[in-house]
């Protein structure tokens, strides 16, 4: 009795499983993943709107067919292109894009599958990129703003900036990207896709230009090195000059002060002497004369005196 009931239950389960299995096999039931969208076709003819909601869905088995497409944001990564800029510089430009299938039906009808659309995207985006790059200068593709020019003085220390790089730009890299995006999206809707974003991933010089750039960089650095050296020499000479100047300044100032001091002292001495000697000029000249005798007459002197002199007058007579 017990076994019988269980057998029935089991039978039911197996039956359900068989039905489910059959439903899947024949295609009456299909699962749509969160990342997918589905277009149902009947003998190749689309039926209804694309199914974009995830979960379990039903369709007529055998005669209806489900075509799965991505619902997520998809990648496109182009091959690098060698493109000349407006100023005839050859550069490699590598762009990437992000796109989605917005109209699965149109997508199915126009390109069929993702493989098919990648080629179209190559054409669309590469040509838009080429147009954008060739009509702009190299700096406009490399730089995004005029930051370097505006903060040029702030850097101060290094002045080595190529003239070419100093060009003021009206459009920058992001503007180019939006040009490309806009242009690409003109053609994209016919494939049922929308290009959400185009970015310039890499810009590099082509090989021989790169070598020339290296040479230029080396030359610029050498120039900078030379600048530092001569700055050093200049500064050193300046300091030397300052030494000479300060030296003169110091010695002449000292000389001046010394002269002033000496002069004042001399003047004071003169006034002191004058004050004293003025009291009796005659006596002063008498004293001074006597003093000079003491100083001038020595063992080399020959003195010739007459008996008329005060000293020898007694030689002749006493009563004078």
């Amino acid at each position: 009795m017990k076994n019988g009931a269980f057998g029935t239950i089991l039978g039911v389960i197996i039956a359900i499983a068989a039905v489910v299995f059959l439903a899947f096999i024949t295609g009456a039931v299909y699962i749509v993943n969160e990342t997918q969208q589905v277009v149902i076709t009947q003998f190749g003819k689309p039926v209804g709107e694309p199914v974009t909601s995830a979960g379990l869905h039903f369709k007529t088995p055998l005669i209806q067919q489900a075509h799965y497409f991505e619902k997520r944001l998809l990648d496109w990564d182009g091959d690098p292109n060698q493109i000349p800029t407006k100023d005839k510089k050859y550069i490699w430009v590598d762009t990437i894009a992000r796109w989605t299938i917005v109209d699965a039906l149109k997508f199915l009808q126009s390109v069929g599958n993702e493989m098919g659309v990648q080629g179209r995207l190559d054409d669309i985006i590469n040509s838009a990129t080429r147009d954008a790059v060739t009509s702009h200068l190299l700096v406009e593709a490399v730089r995004n703003s005029n930051r370097i020019l505006e903060s040029g003085s702030e850097g101060g220390e290094d002045v080595i900036v190529t003239d070419e790089a100093l060009e003021r730009i009206g459009v920058g890299r992001q503007m180019l990207e939006s040009f490309i995006l806009e242009k690409s999206n003109v053609l994209a809707p016919q494939y049922g896709i929308e290009i959400r974003d185009v970015r310039i991933k890499r810009i590099n010089y082509v090989e021989d230009v790169r070598n020339k750039v290296y040479d230029r960089m080396i030359a610029e650095r050498k120039r900078a090195a030379e600048k530092y050296r001569s700055e050093g020499q200049g500064k050193s000479a300046e300091i030397e000059g300052q030494v000479a100047k300060e030296l003169k300044e110091i010695t002449s100032e000292a000389y001046r002060q010394a002269q002033v001091i000496t002069g004042k002292a001399d003047a004071e001495a003169v006034s002191i002497y004058a004050n004293a000697y003025n009291q009796d000029e005659q006596f002063y000249s008498f004293l001074k004369t006597l003093e000079t005798y003491k100083e001038t007459i020595d063992d080399k002197s020959t003195v010739i005196l007459t008996t008329d002199s005060d000293y020898y007058r007694y030689l002749k007579s006493l009563d004078k």
Partner: protein
């Protein structure tokens, strides 16, 4: 212990037959248990402590499950994808770590395509950097973009190149590195958010930034020249320091000497004038005799010093009648 109940061989075979017959009855049970086990195996799943499980029922998103043991509907109806939401992932640009560790080994591969970029002043730099990120929204990560990692890598390159393209070589090499790190982080986040990638950029960090191999010596030369410049300036200041303080000392000496001279001069003047005044004062008491005395004393002092003395009579016209007073000691 008793051996009474030990069955005979016949009995054993009989029992075996009976059991085999019973076994047929149990086959549905076996199938049931087998299915149950299978179901049970598919019904239970666990989510690690640093993970979150994204549940999809028939492909449709049906919720998140937190860390721990959980049940789900088996047979592929419920599908759970564990996503590591705590872990910080790292992406490397321009290099590859072969083996991380105390001394990490780095691949020697050529990643120049990735690392060479143009600076705003149209020079070429070899830039290596890392981007660290965390998954902040597992649902977006799984359903919004097909290739989240590719998005992160591509956008990191796009943004880094754009910023390096806006700075000069020297800025990227030295002072503006952190600024570029910060700005790139914000910008990468902004773009990835617009894609709904569902990741949080934790860090963007510039690692090695070098001039290309070929131009490195020239860059080094600049650094050497800078050093040289500093050296020359230092040497010049050294010379300055050698000369100027000494000169100041000498100048001070000159001034002090002048001051000394001044003091000397004035003091002498004062002394001499005081002496004169003192003498004068006494002289005035008896001028005639004092004058005479002073004169004669001086003569007495001076004349012996002279080598030759000639005293000539005033009436004598020639020099013949000369008197040699030396021999007489020149005294009166």
């Amino acid at each position: 212990m008793s051996f009474d109940n030990v069955p005979s061989p016949d009995e054993i075979i009989d029992v075996g037959k009976k059991k085999l017959g019973d076994a047929w009855k149990y086959i549905p049970w076996f199938i049931g248990i087998f299915l149950l086990l299978g179901a049970a195996r598919g019904m239970i799943y666990s989510i690690g402590p640093d993970e979150v499980g994204v549940i999809q029922r028939f492909g449709k998103y049906a919720g998140l499950s937190s860390p721990g043991l959980h049940a789900k509907i088996p047979f592929g109806i419920d599908k759970v994808t564990p996503i590591k939401v705590e872990k910080v992932f790292k992406e490397e640009f321009g290099f590859k770590t072969m083996q991380a560790g105390v001394r990490s080994r780095y691949g020697r591969g050529d990643y120049l395509d990735e690392s060479l970029m143009l600076t705003g002043d149209l020079n070429i730099l070899d830039v290596r950097w890392i981007v660290q990120f965390r998954i902040k929204d597992a649902v977006k990560l799984m359903f919004a973009t097909r290739n989240p990692l590719n998005n992160i890598r591509d956008i990191s390159e796009v943004v880094m190149r754009r910023f390096v393209g806006d700075y000069s070589v020297d800025e990227v090499l030295t002072v503006k590195r952190e600024e570029i790190d910060d700005l790139s982080q914000q910008e990468i986040q902004r773009i990835l958010d617009s894609y709904n990638v569902g990741v949080q950029i934790v860090t963007v960090k510039l690692l090695d930034v070098n001039p290309a191999e070929k131009v490195k010596p020239a860059f080094n030369e600049v650094n050497e020249a800078k050093q040289e410049k500093e050296k020359m300036i230092n040497q010049a200041w050294e010379a300055y320091n050698k000369v100027i303080p000494k000169a100041r000392g000498t100048a001070e000496k000159t001034i002090r000497e002048a001051e000394g001279y001044a003091i000397d001069k004035v003091n002498r003047a004062k002394g001499e004038s005081e002496r004169f005044l003192a003498t004068l004062k006494e002289y005035k008491k008896a001028p005639e005799i004092t004058k005479k005395r002073m004169y004669l004393e001086t003569m007495a002092e001076v004349l012996p010093e002279a080598r030759e003395k000639y005293i000539i009579d005033k009436e004598q016209g020639s020099i013949l009648p000369l008197l040699d007073i030396n021999k007489k000691g020149g005294e009166r």
